[in-house]
């Protein structure tokens, strides 16, 4: 039982390859000379699509919007998620369980349900679709990522540290600033990065809460449905992989001590 059988090895490595090979093909097709089809193998290789992307104003507008949305949605999620974690990490009161369920709901329900519900709510409240409706939609499902990370870290924080701070003369706000925040800082940073990656990548809820504006995923979706210059989409996809991989990698290293990255099982579309 101490050595894996050959069959198990092949199955495990095959499974991992299955997870990664499609991403390699995206990279490969970013250099193809063929722009009308997905012919394999590519008839030739070129770097010109990177130049084309550089010159495309619509792509840069979408990137800019996505970055702005992700930044602000992450900030809102950081504030609300930390507040919620502070209230629920140690509190024991009736209604605690339903409230934590409520935080998970936006990513537990199909994105399309959340999207339509929010679209209708904005309609009822007569809020015109704008940058801010996209941000609010994203913040809704980003809260849980921050919340999960912060709750996990707060539960590991010894309660006597907070008592010691107050014992030494610090009031509740000084204690938060000087003791709690420094000790949950990396967890918040990790949660914030994951929230950023989630927002930067979101397409379903955005479809319903965006007006005429196009975030990067919306731009990409339209390219997938009606392809024009196919390799351009590949170049953008490669850039997206880089922009989302880095924060995820950073979040992994930030939360690694004492457990695996929180909130992993619990995200999706």
């Amino acid at each position: 039982m101490n050595r894996p059988s050959l069959g198990l090895k092949i199955a495990a490595l095959g499974g991992l390859a299955f997870l990664h090979v499609p991403l390699l093909f995206i990279l490969l097709y970013a250099f193809t000379t063929e722009e009308k089809s997905y012919a394999f193998p590519p008839p030739g290789y070129t770097l010109k699509w990177f130049g084309v992307v550089w010159g495309r104003a619509d792509i840069w507008a979408a990137v800019g919007l996505s970055l702005k949305v992700a930044t602000i949605a992450t900030l809102i999620a950081l504030v609300l998620g930390t507040l919620a974690a502070g209230a629920l990490a140690r509190a024991k009161f009736f209604g605690r369980e339903p409230i934590s369920l409520l935080f998970v709901l936006p990513i537990a329900l199909p994105g399309i349900v959340t999207g339509i519900a929010l679209r209708q709510a904005f309609g009822l409240m007569e809020i015109p679709f704008s940058f801010w409706t996209i941000v609010l939609g994203h913040a809704t499902f980003c809260i849980v990522v921050v919340y999960n990370n912060a709750v996990a870290r707060l539960r590991r924080l010894s309660p006597s540290l907070i008592e010691a701070s107050m014992d030494l003369g610090a009031d509740a706000f000084q204690t938060f600033r000087l003791v709690v925040l420094p000790n949950i800082g990396t967890a918040l940073l990790a949660g914030g990065m994951l929230a950023f990656a989630l927002s930067f990548d979101e397409v379903i809820v955005t479809t319903f809460t965006a007006g005429q504006q196009s975030t990067l995923p919306i731009w990409m979706l339209s390219e997938l449905i009606r392809p024009r210059q196919r390799p351009v989409t590949n170049v953008v996809a490669v850039l997206v992989i880089l922009v989302t991989f880095l924060p995820i990698l950073a979040a992994y290293y930030l939360t690694r001590e004492g457990g695996q990255a929180r909130g992993a099982a619990g995200t999706g579309k």
């Binding site: 039982m1 495990a12 991992l16 991403l23 089809s37 209708q120 990548d201 989302t244 995200t267």
Partner: protein
């Protein structure tokens, strides 16, 4: 042994410090103040809008004017059982089931290897190898499969090189799973979904397997059980909560998706697409709400069953 005499200054008194006094005197106030902002958004606006949307499933649509008739009726809910709509539901549940089974089969060896044989370094590598695809862009992943599945794409090319193009054509000519090409077939759709949700299956199964003590497996061996019997009678039952937890994700994520079927798939609608068209071009919000209730109810049922197997400890 002594300390110098020293007049300790009093801390600055201010509004914040007096507010802090109040918070500490009333322990519930602090919880309330912390919870209020997230609860106002999620509890009031978000939950409220969910209820408003889903609640419209008891209204109906006026066939001529296309406006919503705000009178309670079961007509819209019953419409789900009309053959055309019921087909959509069955098709979606069928795809979700196939995706879940396929995910479980592919995930198990990875999770088993990582849980039982990988050292600490290999385990970290495994974890990252699963986390990276999990968190990388959804659309990019879908796009990757569009490239692979295309008629002129890599899978067809490799099949041709390996002399398997005949087998591929034979598979595509089968009813139900086949189609003009992989990218316009249920096979392609199920493969893409499986790929998208696989990490959600690997992580809980691995977590469940980590909790199977090695001594238990050795004990089974000591008692004369062969590897196959040990696997079936010891490992599989103990891993089951993890599989169920993973299935909660793979099943629910497939039920709600409408983008993959739009990009890869046949012209026959699945549930997500139906909701999307109903709320958009068709403007039939009541029926869209009725359709949306299905995945929510299915998942509620699934979760109740999952809770009994102890699947939540594996999440």
């Amino acid at each position: 042994m002594s300390l110098a005499t020293f007049d300790l200054p009093s801390p600055r008194e201010g509004a914040l410090r007096r507010f802090s006094d109040l918070l500490l005197r009333r322990g519930h106030l602090i919880v309330l103040l912390l919870l209020a902002p997230p609860l106002i958004w999620l509890g009031l606006v978000y939950l409220g809008s969910l209820f408003v949307f889903l609640g419209q499933s008891i209204f109906s649509i006026d066939e001529f004017s296309g406006t919503i008739v705000r009178e309670p009726t079961t007509a819209t809910l019953l419409e789900l059982f009309r053959p055309a709509n019921f087909d959509i539901l069955m098709r979606t549940v069928g795809i979700a089931t196939a995706v879940t089974l396929l995910c479980a089969v592919i995930a198990f060896p990875i999770a088993y290897y990582a849980a039982r044989y990988a050292g600490p370094r290999a385990k970290a590598a495994f974890y990252l190898a699963v986390m990276m695809p999990l968190w990388s862009s959804y659309l990019v992943k879908v796009y990757g499969w569009k490239l692979l599945l295309a008629k002129e794409g890599a899978i067809s090319w490799f099949a041709g090189r390996l002399g398997l193009d005949g087998a591929l054509d034979a598979w595509l000519s089968l009813p139900l799973v086949g189609g003009p090409s992989l990218s316009v077939s249920y096979t392609g759709m199920v493969l893409t979904f499986t790929y998208l949700w696989l990490p959600f299956m690997i992580l809980p199964v691995q977590a469940a397997l980590e909790r199977v003590p090695a001594s238990l497996i050795e004990a089974a061996g000591d008692l004369g059980a062969g590897p196959g019997y040990t696997f079936r009678s010891v490992i599989l039952p103990l891993a089951m909560p993890g599989v169920v937890a993973g299935a909660v994700f793979t099943f629910s994520l497939t039920l709600g998706d409408y983008i993959v079927p739009q990009i890869i798939g046949t012209s026959a609608l699945v549930l997500g697409q139906a909701v999307y068209t109903l709320q958009g071009t068709a403007g039939n919000i009541p029926l869209a709400a009725a359709f949306s209730l299905v995945p929510i109810l299915v998942m509620a049922l699934f979760l109740t069953l999952a809770k009994r197997t102890g699947a939540f400890d594996a999440m």
